[in-house]
């Protein structure tokens, strides 16, 4: 227990460490949910900024383009205006030259108003910017009168009044029609015009000047005209300003309060050739800039794409985080589950230990009971109880082993065992149940299967127990039939089977005409035809044939492949459940466990075990007809000689007193007959199988002339199946026998035994009255049949009678009295108690405190008859001490051999371990280091009795007892 627990703890510790490591690793991981969210938000902010930046960039680019476009438009307009202006000015110059030529230098003037008007009107297209031109003549005051007379009007001022007296005047004499209203008006009277005149005159010598040619610029309409000719006039608002006074620009053209896009303005300078005046053109877009869809779309597209990308990453991150969380959670759960598993194992270990202890008592008591004088039935019951007890202990061990199977740590034993007795044990286990239910339970092992095989009997038994247990559970009527055949023999027959199955229907018809509908063990239909009579006969015959001819050949191959089938006529497995029959904890349906109990783990364990044994398991099942489970297993052949070397017999040997006897079995069902024959043949009895009582007695009475056996010997016993007795001419039997006896043709008539699956009291009395010596209640087992035959025939007297003990204490006293025994234990209290217990039985006890002290005391030669050794001791433990003692003895023995004193017995002092835990591992360790046995602490008489009995009796005192102990130890 401590060993086991330790390993479990170790596992748990390792796991914890792993977990801690993982957690540490997890802490290093970048991603957590909140961190991911932060990252996502950060990322969104960044891409928002980026897309805004892109938008700005594109917007700026747009603005720049717009600005450039505006500038170019504005400049273009300004240039055109200026060009037009220059053209006009040039023409004005030309006009001035015209006037001077034809008016001033000709006398009389060649031009009059009419001519001038016509000419100027015709040439107006040359001066697109001017609304009209006029010529003002320079008139000095001295010449005013003369001039006024000459012209016929007086000089007027701008306000149309006669001009006041001035030094000089500049009245308009010629004017274009468009400005004819200024004729006779003195241009010098207008402030602005006067300044223009003076500025113009400053460029020339004042004395040469005789007149001025002036034009009126109609900027507004002209610019309108001009710009109207240009494309995109709607798009651009143009203002022309006179900015001579820069603080108060004078608007010359364009709306006073221009609307439109105020954000963008382009200014182009205009030069109208007037050095004293500055003009400029200001352009702006009429419309606000169009919404920059391109930029918006691009940036939004960029944002959305990046957002999606980011979200995908975020999603992946979240997924990873989630998976990691799940993983962590799973790991925690795993640790919990493993802890639970450890707890479960500990629980199982504890509970099984608790059960084992009292079970040992039960087994011991049964063993004692078996040593008393019992009749055959009582003996059978006691043996059954004992077998059941052993099986229970075994099952507890199996529960423990389940964990091992799950961990894949199960290893199979390789020990010789007798297959037939294993099967008998299994049968015994279920005999009570099958009797209660009235089911035929039978086992048949082919002759071909060797008596002794090497393998793991426990596991083999476990599988068969499980299968038979299931069958018993689910079968209410009919039979359960366990068969063991050799693998190589089954195959050819199975090949032939296919053909036979074709004929099955017709055969069944034939059979129905007989007594029972199906020729199986009990007459009920079985799921698999494999076991129907024809096949069975073929199989048996085949084996016999091979046995005769190839017997020697087979000895060469060392591996024996067995096919074991367990056939029942139970409820079968529903088709939908057949797939998961081997899944742990699965039963056909939920009602199964309610109705029949069980955990559903048996078949899965069986499957594991069968696979470990190198075979496979399968089944055929038909609902309401039955199931047949079959598995194969590879076992080793065992040399008989090797078996003989074994100290203890594998199982209780069958009595041999029946060899050469003869029996007749009366059974209407051949399969069942063969099973009976099988058991009898195991006892060495020659068997005749007949189908009816009539035939049997005709053979007995010799009416047939000769008996079948050919030897002519009368059968010693006739076994009659109950069915044959009741259905046939049953009650005639005794009379016939009486006849025989009376007629003196037989010295002693054969004993009659009734075979019955179940029997009522009435039938029992009837049978006795009819002349049956005994009744054997099935299932048949060789040992049981033997016991019955012994009682009936009065042979093979009880071998144990001389060996009974009134009780264990007396026996112990008798064997321990006067013997020197060494008790080795470091624990004072334990030592004293052990010594006290041994002293009670008259032993002379010495004690040693440690392994070393024991060694000192055990220097050869010594007086001790046995040594009880504690295992766990400081300094030198029990194993070590035992090894050293054995070494010492070995040396002494060698010396003795060399010394020639062969006759002396070898030194081998029985050393028995004392320990508190009863594990197989401990037990094996004990044996390994040379100990002979094992006593559990604290001392119990039972234990002591079993352990000591082996060494102080020349022969095993009671094989059953040591067997029982072995069973309890082998856990």
């Amino acid at each position: 227990m401590s060993l086991k627990t330790k390993s479990h703890h170790a596992v748990a510790v390792v796991l914890n460490e792993k977990l801690v490591g993982k957690q540490r690793a997890n802490k290093c991981i970048l991603f957590t949910k909140s961190r991911l969210l932060t990252m996502l938000l950060l990322y969104i902010t960044v891409i928002a900024c980026a897309s805004f930046y892109i938008y700005n960039l594109m917007e700026a680019d747009n603005m720049e383009k717009r600005r450039e476009f505006l500038a170019s438009m504005c400049d273009q307009r300004a240039r055109m205006l200026q060009d037009q202006f220059s053209v006009s000015i040039n023409h004005v110059h030309a006009l001035a030259i015209l006037v001077s030529t034809f008016h001033l230098y000709k006398n009389p003037s060649a031009i009059d108003q009419e001519t001038f008007a016509q000419y100027t009107a015709n040439t107006a297209f040359e001066r697109p910017l001017m609304s009209g031109v006029a010529y003002a003549h320079r008139v000095l005051h001295s010449n005013r009168e003369k001039f006024e007379q000459q012209q016929g009007w007086t000089i007027k001022t701008m306000s149309r009044d006669p001009s006041p007296v001035k030094d000089e005047y500049a009245p308009v004499i010629f004017s274009q029609e468009t400005v004819s209203y200024i004729e006779s008006i003195d241009m010098m009277s207008g402030e602005e015009d006067r300044e223009n005149i003076l500025r113009a005159r400053a460029t020339e010598s004042p004395y040469k000047i005789s007149g001025y040619l002036g034009g009126a610029f109609d900027v507004e309409s002209l610019v309108e005209n001009l710009l109207g000719q240009l494309a995109g006039k709607q798009a651009v608002v143009v203002n022309v300003y006179d900015v001579t006074n820069s603080s108060d620009p004078l608007i010359m053209y364009g709306p006073q309060h221009p609307d439109g896009d105020m954000s963008l303005l382009h200014v182009s300078m205009l030069d109208f050739g007037d050095p004293f005046r500055k003009h400029e053109m200001r352009c702006r877009y009429l419309q606000n800039p169009p919404t920059p869809w391109m930029a918006i779309n691009s940036s939004i597209g960029f944002f959305v794409i990046c957002l999606l990308g980011g979200y995908i990453f975020y999603g992946a991150g979240i997924h990873i985080v989630k998976i990691e969380e799940d993983f962590r959670e799973m790991q925690e759960l795993k640790v919990l589950a493993e802890a639970a598993d450890v707890a479960k194992s500990q629980f199982l270990a504890t509970v099984s230990h608790e059960i084992r202890t009292p079970m040992n008592g039960v087994l011991g008591m049964l063993a004692m009971l078996l040593d008393t004088d019992l009749d055959s039935n009582q003996r059978g019951y006691a043996q059954t109880a004992q077998a059941c007890g052993r099986a229970l202990i075994q099952l507890i061990n199996e529960v423990l082993d389940r964990a091992k199977i799950e961990a894949g740590k199960l290893e199979l034993d390789e020990v010789p065992f007798e297959l037939r007795s294993v099967l008998d044990d299994v049968l015994a286990l279920f005999s009570a149940k099958s009797r209660d239910k009235g089911i035929e339970l039978a086992v048949f092992v082919s002759d071909k299967v060797p008596e002794v095989l090497v393998g793991d009997p426990g596991r083999f038994r476990q599988v068969i127990t499980n299968l038979v247990g299931n069958s018993v559970k689910f079968t209410e009527h009919g039979h359960i039939f366990v068969q063991v055949h050799l693998g190589e023999n089954v195959k050819p027959v199975m090949g032939a089977k296919a053909e036979q199955c074709m004929k099955r229907e017709s055969e069944a018809m034939e059979v129905i005409s007989g007594k029972s509908p199906f020729n199986t063990l009990s007459g009920y239909e079985a799921a698999d035809d494999r076991n129907c009579w024809k096949n069975f006969k073929l199989l048996v015959a085949n084996e016999k044939l091979q046995f005769d001819h190839l017997g020697t050949n087979d000895e060469t191959s060392n591996t024996v492949s067995l096919v074991v089938s367990v056939e029942d006529t139970g409820i079968g497995i529903p088709e939908h459940a057949q797939e998961r029959v081997f899944t742990p904890f699965m039963q056909a349906d939920s009602s199964t466990s309610r109705n029949f109990g069980g955990t559903g783990i048996g078949l899965s364990i069986s499957q594991c075990l069968v696979e470990l044994m190198g075979g496979h398991i399968n089944f055929i099942s038909r609902p309401n007809i039955g199931s047949t489970f079959a598995f194969t297993a590879s076992l080793q052949r065992c040399e008989r000689s090797a078996l003989n070397d074994l100290k203890r017999p594998l199982s209780e040997p069958l009595p041999t007193g029946f060899k050469g006897m003869k029996a007749t079995v009366v059974d209407g069902k051949p399969v069942r007959g063969i099973v009976t024959r099988y058991h009898l043949e195991r006892l060495g009895i020659q068997v005749d199988l007949v189908s009816t009582i009539k035939v049997a007695f005709s053979a007995v009475s010799g009416l047939n002339g000769c008996s079948r056996s050919g030897i002519g010997k009368q059968p010693d016993v006739i076994l009659i199946e109950k069915d044959s007795w009741i259905l046939n001419e049953g009650f005639v039997v005794p009379e016939r026998l009486m006849d025989l006896k009376q007629s003196g043709r037989m010295v002693e008539h054969p004993k009659m035994i009734l075979l019955a699956t179940s029997i009522t009291n009435v039938e029992n009395i009837k049978a006795k009255a009819t002349g049956f010596s005994d009744i054997i209640v099935k299932p048949l087992r060789a040992s049981m049949v033997a016991a019955c035959l012994q009682q009936v025939l009065g042979i093979g007297s009880r071998s144990r009678q001389g060996r009974e003990f009134p009780n264990g204490s007396a026996y112990l006293s008798s064997i321990l009295c006067g013997k020197h025994i060494l008790v080795v234990d470091d624990n004072r209290v334990n030592r004293i108690v052990a010594a006290g217990a041994l002293k009670k039985f008259g032993a002379i006890v010495e004690c040693a405190e440690s392994g070393r002290a024991a060694l000192d005391k055990l220097q050869l030669p010594h007086k001790f008859a046995a040594c009880f050794m504690d295992i766990q001791m400081p300094e030198m433990d029990g194993f070590e001490a035992t090894r050293l003692i054995r070494q010492m003895e070995h040396k002494a023995n060698e010396q003795m051999k060399n010394g020639g004193s062969v006759g002396k017995p070898e030194f081998h002092m029985p050393i028995l371990a004392m320990t508190a835990d009863v594990f197989q591992a401990t037990y094996q360790e004990c044996l390994k280091c040379g100990m002979d046995g094992y006593v559990s602490k604290p001392f119990e008489e039972e234990n002591l009795y079993q352990a000591v009995a082996k060494f102080f009796e020349p022969k095993p005192v009671s094989s059953e007892l040591s067997e029982a102990k072995f069973c309890s130890l082998s856990g």
Binding site: S2, D826, N830, I832, V833, G836, E940, E941, E942
Partner: protein, 164 residues
């Protein structure tokens, strides 16, 4: 007080100890071991046990006080104690020892210290009970009675009082 009264008191106390799991059948087996030659066998063994206990407790206390507890030493001591206690049938002490050892296996210092306390308490309790029991026994013997301990309740095992 006459013999019968003493006997019933003795038996009553013994039953109480068994019912409270201070003792199990092992003690009755111990009683069986004493005969004329060793009349005080059980008493001697139990005394030895308590002597050992003192020593082991001392060792255990010292071991558990170490900064680095050597669980191996502790385990060994507890193992010894477990063996002794199960030999005299002091079932409760044995149980505490089992728990103690599992804590040792786990290297669970806290559990060990707790078990240590429990162990001391249980030992003191059982010692007290034993003292009463032996006092009653002496009185009974002095009054001329004899000790018969009920070994097993079931009638079957009366034939084989030792069988489990």
């Amino acid at each position: 007080m006459n013999v019968e009264q003493l006997k019933s008191r003795f038996k009553g106390h013994y039953d109480f100890m068994v019912a409270e799991k201070f003792l199990d059948e092992q003690f009755s087996q111990l009683q069986q071991l004493q005969d004329e030659s060793t009349p005080d066998f059980a008493f001697e063994v139990v005394s030895l046990f308590f002597e050992d206990c003192q020593k082991i407790f001392h060792d255990l206390d010292r071991a558990l006080e170490q900064p680095m507890v050597d669980f191996k030493t502790v385990d060994n001591n507890v193992h010894t104690l477990k063996g002794s206690s199960s030999s005299i049938g002091a079932a409760r002490v044995t149980h505490v020892c089992i728990a103690f050892r599992s804590f040792c296996d786990e290297h669970n210092l806290e559990g060990c210290l707790r078990s240590m306390q429990e162990l001391k308490r249980e030992t003191a309790l059982v010692k007290n009970q034993f003292e009463i029991l032996f006092k009653l026994e002496q009185q009974l013997l002095a009054a001329g009675g004899s000790i018969t301990l009920p070994v097993k309740p079931s009638p079957q095992s009366n034939d084989h009082p030792w069988f489990m």
